[in-house]
Symmetry: C2
């Protein structure tokens, strides 16, 4: 214990997180139960690094997401717990692995905390990290624990896939169908609603509010969907929607060198997003497509493969929606409404911390 009665880093590493790490060395990790890797040195070994033995040729996928920043407005106002933000950092990092179609074999997490964070609160963050790793079928294999002026959370994730089966953003061809695993905009709707709720006098039903918060508390990285897409040669391009649906479609188009016609009527709308849009006074479709870290997968499939792809998803009880199609790049990317008129995609793409959905709200209610 240090002067303030809180533990120092060695104590936290060796005692408080032990229950979450013990016994992980030796675990089989990798794709579909057909283990491609063994975690030979886990976080429980307390070595310089974690070590995997990869027993055959494979694709290794790596990504890193810092999450403790402006996204956590709901934590600042007390709607998310320490457990929740630990859970989120893993979901955000695993989502990038899922978007490549890989099996997440591990995450590394950075957890820095101020002196005044108690051991119990610290352990709750680690419990959230552990729960998310378990839920997404992976392991927290280490990282960096230590002090800082405030809580800082960041992570990296690693995934394995079979040779040649990684999903990138680059392969969409004109004629491919644009697909989406589920409605977007829920997390964005929550950060649009709650911080302004009191000042604006907004009041949604209690259950709707709880579901909006829940979207942040237990976001789901679409690992299973990504694995289906990489296991069969259906998807020509794939990306997660962590920057919002508008940004995702635009980035997919740019990477693949195509345009998209997005059918307004085909975009699934989450009822909570519609509720928030109505109370805020913005277009529900615009809110659905704006900055929001929903971790859905947006992907393209050759028209001839659509039914086979839908069959694979159905076998796992998973849905997806066809929301448009790829066209020649010269056609650009646009929204096609029911009457056939064309316009640019609505919503505000994620750019940086000051250009979030508040831009929408400001326009609606200056």
């Amino acid at each position: 214990m240090n002067d303030d009665g809180y533990s120092d880093e060695p104590t936290r590493v060796s005692q408080l997180v032990r229950e979450f790490l013990e016994g992980q060395s030796g675990a089989l990790v990798g794709a579909d139960g057909n283990a491609q890797a063994v975690l030979t040195v886990g976080a429980d070994a307390k070595d310089d690094c974690a070590v995997y033995e990869i027993n055959k040729p494979a694709m290794l996928v790596v990504g890193s997401d810092y999450v403790r920043g402006p996204k956590f407005k709901l934590y600042e106002i007390g709607l998310l717990s320490n457990f929740d933000i630990g859970y989120y950092v893993v979901a955000a990092n695993v989502s990038d692995i899922a978007a490549m179609g890989a099996a997440p074999i591990g995450v590394l997490t950075i957890v820095r905390y101020p002196n005044e964070l108690s051991d119990a609160e610290f352990q709750t963050i680690m419990a959230g990290i552990h729960q998310a790793a378990t839920d997404f079928g992976t392991l927290n294999v280490g990282g960096d624990i230590g002090q800082a002026e405030r809580i800082i959370l960041s992570g990296s994730a690693f995934g394995l896939s079979e040779p040649g089966k990684v999903l990138t953003r680059r392969g969409a061809r004109p004629g491919d169908l644009l697909c989406l695993t589920g409605p977007c905009g829920v997390l964005g709707a929550a950060v649009t609603y709650f911080p302004r709720k009191e000042a604006r006098g907004w009041k949604l039903p209690r259950q709707t509010e709880e579901e909006l918060i829940e979207s942040w508390r237990r976001p789901r990285a679409r690992v299973a969907e990504g694995r289906i897409l990489s296991s069969k040669p259906f998807a020509t391009a794939c990306q997660d929607t962590s920057d919002g649906l508008k940004a995702t479609i635009e980035q997919l188009g740019e990477a693949s060198g195509v345009g998209f016609e997005v059918m307004a009527d085909s975009i699934p709308l989450d009822p909570r997003v519609v509720d928030v849009a109505n109370i805020v006074g913005v277009d529900p479709l615009a809110l659905s497509m704006s900055a929001s870290a929903d971790f859905q997968l947006c992907f393209t499939v050759g028209a001839d493969d659509l039914e086979a792809c839908r069959g694979e998803f159905s076998n796992s009880g998973l849905p997806f929606h066809v929301i448009g199609r790829a066209i020649l790049k010269t056609g650009g990317t646009s929204l096609i409404s029911r009457d056939g008129t064309s316009s640019s995609l609505p919503g505000v793409a994620w750019k940086h911390q000051r250009a979030d959905v508040s831009e929408l709200v400001t326009k609606a209610q200056p």
Copy 2:
């Protein structure tokens, strides 16, 4: 450009860092020119993740270090530049890979910055990251760039090694010789000296001061030494000295289940550490063994393998020092002085931000 005349994240990602990333996709990475991996999707592809194709069974080594915290006192007082801290975050992360004997195949870097950081300053951080990656024979394959209240730097690193050839902390046996690639304590001496220099009226020669700062500006991760140690079956355990030599020896002993007799006269002393110790009024050996992120490697070698190991190092023009030997765990870890008397290891091991070398200084000059 945003309201303040500084770029937003997409601008920084797409324009300001392009020169450091362009063309990396397709690069061969891995061990000793005998490529084990190809970076099929690099940061230049701007996808969800970077992707490596690993073309045969291999050991994958992963680690993560957050560095922008109390370590950067010298940055706060203007002695380190934005380039330098970018360089450091890569060195710190690659050092963990070197300590496992792996070839660093990539780093992911988190660079968060306040609104007021100009494009030029941001680009200088990225240039430091790029230079370090180049110096250590690896690539910066992505990460996370965006805004925060202040500069936050963190990283992860990945390495590949041959099956079964990873160096851990666990294999030291009684009788093995304890070895060290070079003197420790230089970076710790710098943070002991500079922040207190003015108040205490300390003044070292200008060249000594410059060399002390240089130790922070261009720390060297011992990749080559680690590769030698993993390529031949000499080393029984290995760790980098990023927590200081005292902590490293104690952790090696604990992980391997041995004690160590460390010969006081055999520990190499850096003349800059001696100079700082003398002006501060502390024992040079204690300062050499205290918290200091020198990134030397500390390893054990069977006595019969010592000459062969030295030969391999000599072939690459690299030195190491024998500083002691492993004994039975019941013997504990101690320092043996010239006259044969035994004492506990001197110095202050790194624990958390308030228990750094200032403890030494405080004892010396209350």
